[in-house]
């Protein structure tokens, strides 16, 4: 099984990097997101079947699985993004720090400020770079220019884009390259100061160099954020995630520590998928 060996190698490299990188003491895991028995429907069509999963605070969780298996759907239930699609429904519970985000008294707008999202296709607004990043704080009521300047700078620095755009903040965001646009979208999501960051294939449309930058960035962001990322690229999942979840046809087949899932999966379907026998 050469593939699995190569994964082992990857994991090994990563561990070395992590020991170098680790700046905070190992703490006991705190559960950030807790999903219990979630079923999800597009009209009559069921897209998720009885999914249960915990996501630890300040960790990276990767979702893998063949196209159409429900990764995006599941990710979008975590910030109630599916609410804006007509005719969707669900049952089961999604708890964010113990609070059910689908409870009646939950303010969806507030929820989405805490659970940010970055999409597969970068979606910069047709505004200036500055206005793109300032958008979130603005709709949250921050109108002081000085404060906005500070937030924008900080967010762009965190998204590793500051140096490239600091002299052209008033240029249109659409003039940036694809990789820069995606980092801008990450900066924009960070500007609302979320604590969870959902990413749906954030690097799938990017070249290898930009992808590497985004991966490094995710590694950095993990210090402060809880990150859930959908990826088609299993090497990527192995490189960046702590835990990996494998979805298949709407079911969560297996979720485990990334190293374990890639080297010794317990389910046959998982093994078939990661060794490339299908999907």
């Amino acid at each position: 099984m050469t593939l699995m060996q190569s994964f082992s190698e990857l994991m090994h490299q990563r561990q070395q990097r992590e020991t170098v990188n680790r700046s905070r003491p190992v703490e006991t895991e705190v559960t950030k997101l807790d999903v219990r028995n979630l079923n999800f429907f597009y009209g009559d069509k069921q897209a998720l079947f009885d999914v249960s999963m915990r996501v630890a605070e300040r960790s990276v969780t990767a979702f893998i699985g063949p196209s159409g298996c429900g990764k995006s759907t599941f990710l979008r239930t975590l910030n109630r993004m599916n609410d804006i699609i007509e005719g969707t429904g669900h049952n089961g519970r999604v708890l964010l720090e113990g609070q059910d985000i689908y409870a009646r008294d939950v303010d969806v707008v507030a929820l989405r400020k805490r659970v940010g999202m970055v999409f597969q296709k970068s979606t910069p607004f047709p505004k200036s770079i500055f206005e793109n990043v300032a958008y979130g704080p603005r709709v949250a009521g921050q109108n002081q220019y000085k404060a906005l300047v500070e937030i924008v700078e900080q967010s762009l620095k965190r998204a590793a884009l500051w140096d490239e755009v600091k002299d052209r903040m008033n240029d249109s965001a659409l003039a940036l390259s694809g990789g820069q646009q995606q980092r801008l979208c990450i900066a924009r999501a960070l500007a609302t100061n979320p604590d969870v960051l959902l990413m749906d294939e954030p690097a799938s449309a990017l070249d290898p160099a930009s992808t590497a930058r985004i991966e490094d960035l995710i590694f950095e962001l993990k210090q402060n954020y809880t990150i859930v990322i959908v990826t088609h690229n299993m090497q990527q999942a192995a490189r960046i995630s702590d835990r990996t979840a494998f979805f298949f046809q709407g079911y969560l087949i297996e979720v485990d520590a990334t190293q374990k899932l890639f080297t010794t999966p317990t389910k046959k379907q998982t093994e078939d998928y990661i060794t490339g026998r299908f999907g």
Binding site: G116, V139, L174, A189
Partner: protein, 328 residues
């Protein structure tokens, strides 16, 4: 016969020679081509004809009979009195007509543009599909009402039952029976469908991903509509505004009936005014002698109107280009 053709699984006949032959297919193509060309040429010729007539009647003709060969352009543009019928001292200052046109179109815009845009936002962002199915046909009916009906409505309903009770009885203004405000109101209503349907198209063309990005940043529906979708659709919205204004400026029957035919240089919306179009109706329907100065002034006014709407169209094109954001 080539090998490829012999083994081809498809039984489409391959042309054996590439030399042209006269055939029915070819002749038909030529005829279709000619007919289409004629149709295109017809509209071109019509436009050219109108421009030539306007030019020779208004600016320059070899016999020296054109309007501007007897009236100076400065008088035309800066004299404040429009009195072409005066028996001894006819005066041809277009300012009162321009004023009437722009006051009424301006009032119409003030009313029609915001309402049109608001209903476009409602239809594209808020309305359930069922609601849209009801509202859209209603708007189309609004667009289909003959403009003379609007004019009549302004004269027999808007002025006596809305404007006079409010502005005359209550607030003490003097409201003429023919007045610019009633005309402005019905012109405003008339342009709502134009603004609404063109703006709605522009709003709907904004990619869904932008809306989702807005929501994901903690926006309310109102935030997304106003701060994401409208800015992204700005070019289309501005173009719809300009087209609507071009329509308001060119509007004829309703303003002739509602605002009357008194050329008057004033900004008071309660007075009667004459627009450029109303003057053209006036002369065309009246018993003006062909070839008289009065008659020729029609062409000068028409030329001015033509230039104004042309400029509006050019501006609309420029705005579309300038503010267009490209989405793939």
């Amino acid at each position: 016969m080539s090998v490829a053709q012999a083994t081809s699984p498809l039984s489409i006949k391959r042309p054996s020679s590439l030399t042209r032959r006269v055939s029915w297919t070819r002749a038909r193509e030529q005829i279709i081509r000619a007919v289409l060309f004629l149709c295109g040429a017809l509209s071109l010729l019509t436009t050219a004809g109108i421009i030539i007539v306007l030019f020779t009647e208004a600016i320059y003709s070899f016999g020296g009979t054109a309007f501007f060969q007897s009236v100076s352009i400065t008088d035309f543009l800066f004299d404040t009195v429009w009195a072409p019928q005066h028996p001894d001292h006819p005066r041809f200052g277009i300012l009162p007509l321009l004023c009437g046109t722009f006051v009424i179109a301006g009032l119409g815009g003030l009313i029609g543009l915001p309402i049109g845009l608001a209903s476009a936002i409602y239809l594209s962002e808020y309305a359930k599909p069922k609601m849209r199915r009801i509202v859209k046909p209603v708007l189309e009916i609004l667009a289909g009402i003959p403009t003379v009906v609007y004019g009549y409505f302004a004269l027999v309903f808007v002025t006596p039952y809305v404007l006079r009770p409010i502005f005359q009885t209550w607030l003490g203004f003097n409201v003429d029976i023919f007045n610019a405000l009633s005309a402005g109101i019905v012109v405003g209503v008339m342009i709502i469908p134009t603004v609404c349907s063109l703006s709605e198209d522009a709003l709907r063309a904004v990619p869904r991903g932008l809306r989702e990005a807005g929501y994901a940043l903690g926006s309310t529906k109102f935030d997304v509509s106003l701060k994401v979708v409208v800015p992204a659709a700005l070019s289309g919205i501005l173009a719809s505004f300009l087209l609507a204004m071009a329509r308001a400026i060119g509007e004829t029957m309703a303003v002739t009936i509602a605002a009357g035919q008194q050329p008057r240089l004033t900004l008071n919306p309660f007075r009667g005014m004459e627009t450029m179009t109303a003057y053209i109706v006036n002369i065309s329907l009246g018993d003006t002698e062909a070839g008289s100065m009065e008659y020729k002034s029609l062409y000068a006014v028409a030329l001015s109107l033509f230039v104004i709407t042309l400029l509006m169209n050019v501006l609309a094109q420029w705005v579309l280009k300038r503010f267009r954001e490209v989405y793939e």
